[in-house]
Symmetry: C2
Subunit: 405 residues, 2 copies
Amino acid sequence: MKKPKIVIVGAGYGGLMTTVRLQKLVGVNEADIVLINKNDYHYETTWLHEASAGTLHHDRVRYDIRDVIDRSKVDFVQDTVVEIKKEEKKVILEKGEVEYDYLVIALGGEPETFGIKGLKEYAFGITNVNSSRQLREHIEYQFATYNMEEEKNDNRLVIVVGGAGFTGIEFLGELTNRIPELCHEYDVDSHKVKILCVEAAPTVLPGFDPELVNYAVSQLERKGVEFLIGTAIKECTPNGIIVAKGEEEPREIKAETVVWAAGVRGNSIIEKSGFEAMRGRVKVQPDLRVPGFDDVFIIGDSSLVINEEINRPYPPTAQIAMQQGEVVARNIAALVRGKQDLETFTFDNKGTVCSLGHDDAIGVVFGKKVTGAKASFMKKVVDNRSLYMIGGAGLVLKKGKFNVF
Amino acid sequence: MKKPKIVIVGAGYGGLMTTVRLQKLVGVNEADIVLINKNDYHYETTWLHEASAGTLHHDRVRYDIRDVIDRSKVDFVQDTVVEIKKEEKKVILEKGEVEYDYLVIALGGEPETFGIKGLKEYAFGITNVNSSRQLREHIEYQFATYNMEEEKNDNRLVIVVGGAGFTGIEFLGELTNRIPELCHEYDVDSHKVKILCVEAAPTVLPGFDPELVNYAVSQLERKGVEFLIGTAIKECTPNGIIVAKGEEEPREIKAETVVWAAGVRGNSIIEKSGFEAMRGRVKVQPDLRVPGFDDVFIIGDSSLVINEEINRPYPPTAQIAMQQGEVVARNIAALVRGKQDLETFTFDNKGTVCSLGHDDAIGVVFGKKVTGAKASFMKKVVDNRSLYMIGGAGLVLKKGKFNVF
């Protein structure tokens, strides 16, 4: 009898969690496991704001996939997915193709630019290691160039962050810590630096507790951030952005650095492969399989799970992706052993912490509101926990955050 | 009786050495000492190739002027010299003017571009802290951007160094050490990186011992440098350079980074102020005064002293500038005390070491040829010695180089 082949595409939080759990649950004689990923490393998406601001080196936010998988059980293939031929049960890669009996799609999200003109061309993203280190180097180059100019271009010192959601706020927290260092290193007058956050929604951090939101806003304002709330970015140009508040006349804000930190959508491979999706996200069954395709699971940013309490989808987070990975691993193990009764996924929200720099944060943990040093400590516990869940104590020691005071 | 006022413009090797010696030689009741400098820091010009390549942080190559001068004896003014009115005995500054009884011009050199089109606009320089950190950030940004591009621009990984003199060779030594790190940090295939050195003269390091030159060339070639000798840069463009070898047809070399490391001339303030000069350098008297102006001394890169042995000017170096500073301090002390018999400057060449990275070098020290680790060690001794001469043991401990193995 032929062994079933389990293929996992994507080694983000969801895909890697599925893999490390499956390699424990399934014996080498029961199934073949193949993990496919574009890079040979996993990166901590939730730490990218630090690499982007330059407060943590970008090599600190990633680790070698081969260090956490059991290579005697999992076959790792470094390649990029081009398309999934779900009727033929195979994955088309740039350099080949792989057939599967069970497929886990954990390809991660993509930035959503809502068709705003120029964003793709001129705005920087906090999307992956490549984009984060480019953003960091771009900002440093602006500071380094400022003193070289005979006629100073003050817009080099203007940084616009589009979006006051989780990523935007966490990036602002790090950036405002980094700016005084940059000013010192590059002999730039800190009064000349301008940091703006533009958000189309009527509030910062929509969905967060208003008391915590007020705390975050006042802390960031104190560190020099100017918030333009209820203000939409209409266009991004090589020299800045065009914004409009309500029915007001659009106006230009000149800035050499524009960061787009609003909006995530599912992976474009989902639509390209013909799955029925909303903004690249597939509404999965309670067992996390795709309706009509009993051999395909989707988890993470390209999956859509409804929060029954408020009848709206859960926002895509590392926490939900990892919990999905655990359930998918158990469900696939069951299928391999011929069981048809699969486990239902329910999200167990342990809380959310939004950092405001390495020394400050806001959050709700086990139902309790926290701010300041306590919240910041909790954030590091959360960060270390995901390392522990995937790579154990060794990975925490290697890549963990211990600057807790 | 009015106290004479001694004004020193420039806090490079020569100006700072003059100042620290004068503050010991001359009592507060004998003269006022004023030191004027554009920045509030001194930088080690001879270490800039390291800051430019990114092997040493740019804050390591500078120190606060106030840390090495005796502020009870020396009045430090941070301002930029606009012109010297030698007939009126005053220095015009951007924010004011200062009269003098004795003036020491130690303003340092400027890059000489020989009128080559586009060099000023498009080439980077290893001239000061500002230019060096911009060059470093530019290179890092090219590496950071490479992986973000769908259509790869391989020219981002091409670095052209114009000039195979001291600065060019020392920069290449650091750069070739830095490239493997950059490739690792930014996931770039090191085979795609191309480093070219273009030199119009028929040899690398003209004036150096041929055996040592051969050693340097073969070491740098082994680390990936391609030398184009006897080849002139005709033009620098936003996309690279146009070169021609002898009578050959000019050809284009595409490169996103062009570094101009050839040619130093005297300071433009010299000509602007009406001193008779050759490329900004004034042929000073044996006592280092300007012919016809008994109250003005010129030292460092803007002074010209003939090496009688070969009847050619000594090349401008930190070593000669510091020795000149010592003599000028003694001569001014003599003048203040009414003596007219001044000391004659003779250059005591202790040797020259050209580094090829932190771990390799070539040199002639006390008349003996050295290469490799021994020469590299000597280079660090030289670097620490200039710290010691100006700021004593404390400055060596703070800024010295101790990575000797």
